[in-house]
């Protein structure tokens, strides 16, 4: 009896406490909103947004609804995160491997790179790139081309855009190639398990992924044109580039800062992963007669990845959450557009901040769930 009370009483008190806090907040919110004449509801989402965005991936103008503004802003957030993740992975892997180099200079340069970028607050790094470094770039009329056709200017990075004809044919060819590769891999594995024979899967995959899309150009009527940005004079002293794609400086600063900052953490994950594999593994693999390539592919990497991937995903998640710092330099991401402009205009603080937080929360939880599934899958199955 006594034991039962001991178990139930703390739980009851905790639940009461939580209910009390929530109830207190809800009642206050009710009173406050009544006094200010605001009513709770999500009806505003279908109203006209009537604000503009500097940079969008999808078509958007002021006449679209708040809901559409939300979608467009969310896509901007995802674009920054996606680019940041790609660059931070590339940089992080290189730096992480460099930290394990035998070369004294390389090892130390990589270590200093990590120490340098890791210990400066991300917000300051973003500000540095945006307000100091990118402002030192030339004006459009003075810009020298990079790689002949791209222009890095104070107003952004101008790159050629691609104009496709029959893009869907190309994409379906690409998908077909990927599906074929998956089938070949499965088949090759079966063959290897049955007969011990190894098929040249890599070469076959490479051939497929180049030949099939190439065929679509030759026979499927797919064409690809590049629209190269051209300098255009707007007024006496005002120039812009027309045509092509313009990446705004906000995006560049954000991606630069995010990927440099996060790459240091990815580098540490990679280093820890590779260091976590004992030397005996490599020697054992060599003594059964595997080639160096096979050792890396079949013995080292599967084990190192098991250590590397979970913390790295965590870093990707951090990067995605940190991309919300975009609001500080006015890149139209979810926080700036929705929790900033839209909130200002509608005054629906609770709904809008709630939606914004829920969006990030669901991204995080989705990735966490995926991670748990992956961890379960790659777990060492002990007998």
């Amino acid at each position: 009896m006594n034991n039962k009370i001991k178990r139930i009483l703390p739980q009851l008190l905790t639940i009461l406490f939580v209910v009390f806090v929530f109830g207190f907040f809800t009642i206050n919110a009710q009173v406050n909103m009544d006094n200010r004449g605001i009513d709770f509801g999500f009806g505003f989402l279908s109203q006209e947004a009537s604000f503009d965005m500097q940079f969008t991936l999808l078509d958007y103008d002021g006449q679209d609804s708040y809901l559409w503004a939300y979608v467009v802003a969310l896509l901007n957030t995802l674009l920054v995160s996606f680019l940041g993740i790609i660059f931070c992975t590339i940089l992080g892997v290189i730096i992480g491997i460099a930290r394990l180099s035998q070369n004294f200079l390389i090892k130390n340069s990589a270590a200093w790179y990590v120490e340098f970028f890791r210990n400066i607050p991300l917000l300051l790094q973003i500000f540095f790139w945006y307000y100091a470094a990118l402002r030192a770039l030339p004006l459009p009329e003075n810009a020298q081309p990079w790689f002949g056709v791209t222009y890095m200017t104070i107003k952004g990075y101008y790159i050629p855009s691609m104009i496709w004809e029959n893009l869907n044919v190309f994409i379906s060819c690409l998908i077909a190639a990927i599906v074929a590769i998956i089938f070949i891999r499965i088949y090759a594995k079966k063959i290897q398990e049955k007969e011990g024979k190894q098929l040249p899967v890599l070469y076959m995959s490479l051939a497929l992924i180049t030949i099939l899309p190439l065929l679509s150009f030759l026979m499927g009527g797919v064409t690809l044109d590049f629209e190269i940005p051209v300098l255009k004079q707007l007024a006496q002293t005002s120039f812009i580039y027309e045509g092509g794609v313009a990446l705004p400086p906000e995006l560049i600063a954000l991606v630069l800062a995010l990927s440099l900052y996060t790459s240091t953490f990815v580098a540490e994950c990679v280093r820890a992963g590779i260091q976590g594999i004992s030397k005996g593994q490599k020697e054992a693999a060599a003594s059964v007669g595997l080639t160096p390539n096979q050792i890396l592919k079949l013995v080292i990497m599967p084990q190192a990845l098991r250590i590397i991937i979970p913390p790295t995903t965590n870093q990707y998640l951090n990067l995605t959450k940190n991309s919300s710092l975009a609001a500080a330099i006015a890149y139209p991401d979810l926080v700036l557009v929705f929790a900033g402009t839209a909130l200002m205009q509608t005054g629906k603080a609770i709904e809008i901040v709630g939606i914004t937080m829920l969006t990030y929360l669901s991204i995080s939880l989705a990735i966490a769930a995926l991670m748990n599934w992956y961890n379960k899958r790659i777990e060492i199955k002990e007998k």
């Binding site: 939580v18 206050n28 035998q102 607050p121 307000y131 100091a132 609770i350 914004t356 991204i363 995080s364």
Partner: protein
């Protein structure tokens, strides 16, 4: 590649070493003279060749120098460390030349061509950095808009708080058992009172300074300090809650932790500044700074909880069983057996959380609190001082870098220390 280079090598090792060092020294000299004195020895070479000239020379030199064993200590360590193969030799040269090339411009911008004299923008005439700007604005960067003549209040408050933080070291043996009580309960309260009465003022004959005027680096310290001392106990409770055998408590803790870990800090700050006032009673006013501190504390507590949970999980089951078999209850077991050991394990992790907290505090700029990033933005847009954003951000970066680097080194040392003790 290797083969063909070996073919041109002489059979005599000494000749190889002489040729190699001559080539290597020549290539380094070329880059050095070029970057420090703008003398271009290889300038007469056609086109792009002059850029690659030192690289090629150095590469040849290093491959001449590469031998199994030469008997010279310096050469052997060179070969072993930076010249093991062609690829390494190339990277070595590349990094050396990049440093040699980048050093003089950076040096002249930072020091040689920089200005620090004078009090106005006009004093900055050189092509280098304008440290005058930092000098003039230094008080603002440090103390925000806090009145100049009252800065002693911030300084003395900080000194007092730091001094009290060390009091624990001087506790007598019989007082040691109150150490945790002191740091978890008494110290935060005293620190809060000191900061409230000294920095805010309003009583004891001190002028009231509203929190809107607080700013600069001192605000960063105040915010991180309070969040730091409040988030730790909260995180401990949450970690225990997550490990609890009572389902309701466990699920509430899990929900809390996962919620705060899943949202970015910036939305939490937005929540504290625009949404939270709606949740408070009508005539109840809470200062923005207090709201922000509460928000960051709630946010960081979730991260703290996860770190502490790691420590709790790392303890062997035997510790729990042993404590229970002595007849200890839940609280007795945790306070006297589990937590002292678990917290020792997680000190490095906690230090890392605090490091992240310090790096996160500049974010409060987004909700309009003028800590150092805010003051920089203000100074940058001042019409008298346009165009010195670079100096300002480099200054702030250096300060934060020193703080964070020291913290990370300290946490690394702690980690090493506790590693050996186990």
């Amino acid at each position: 590649m290797n083969l063909s280079l070996n073919r041109i090598k002489s059979q005599n090792q000494m000749t190889n070493i002489y040729i190699g060092s001559a080539l290597l020294i020549l290539s380094i000299l070329d880059v050095f003279l070029n970057s420090f004195f703008r003398i271009n020895i290889s300038g007469s070479l056609p086109g792009n060749l002059s850029i690659f000239f030192p690289l090629i020379l150095g590469f040849l030199g290093l491959s001449y120098l590469r031998t199994e064993y030469s008997g010279y200590k310096f050469l052997d360590s060179l070969n072993k460390n930076i010249n093991t193969n062609n690829f390494n030799a190339f990277l070595t040269l590349f990094i050396t030349f990049a440093i040699l090339k980048a050093f003089p411009p950076a040096l002249s911008w930072m020091i040689l061509d920089a200005n620090i004299s004078g009090d106005t923008k006009e004093a900055c005439t050189g092509t280098g950095a304008c440290w005058t700007y930092i000098k003039v604005w230094l008080k603002r960067f440090m103390y925000g808009m806090y009145p100049n003549e009252l800065h002693w209040r911030i300084n003395s408050a900080f000194l007092l708080v730091i001094g009290l933080g060390f009091v624990g070291y001087f506790f007598k043996e019989n007082l040691k058992k109150y150490l945790a009580l002191y740091y978890v309960v008494i110290y935060p309260i005293i620190a809060f009172l000191i900061i409230y009465y000294l920095i805010s003022g309003g009583s004891f004959g001190l002028v009231w300074v509203e929190t809107g005027a607080w700013g600069g680096l001192s605000l960063t310290f105040i915010v991180s300090f309070f969040c730091l001392i409040f988030c730790f106990p909260l995180g401990m409770i949450l970690a225990l809650g997550r490990r609890s055998s009572l389902p309701a408590i466990r699920y509430i803790s899990v929900g809390y932790i996962e919620f705060w870990r899943g949202v970015p800090l910036i939305t939490v700050l937005f929540m504290s500044s625009v949404m939270f006032p709606m949740f408070l009673p009508q005539d109840f006013f809470m200062d923005k700074l207090v709201r922000v501190i509460i928000a960051i504390t709630l946010f960081e507590a979730a991260y703290c909880a996860e770190v502490i949970r790691g420590g709790l999980q790392a303890l062997p089951r035997g510790q729990y069983d042993a404590a229970k078999s002595l007849g200890m209850g839940y609280w007795k077991m945790h306070i006297f057996v589990i937590l002292p050991q678990a917290l020792k394990l997680v000190i490095p992790g906690i230090a890392n959380t605090f490091l992240a907290l310090v790096k996160d505090t500049p974010l409060i700029f987004v909700v309009g609190l003028a800590e150092i990033a805010g003051m920089l933005a203000l100074a940058k847009t001042n019409p008298k001082w346009l165009g010195f954003a670079m100096e300002g951000y480099i200054f702030a970066a250096i300060i934060f870098w020193i703080i964070c680097y020291a913290m990370s080194k300290y946490s690394y040392n702690l980690e090493e220390k506790y590693k050996t003790e186990r």
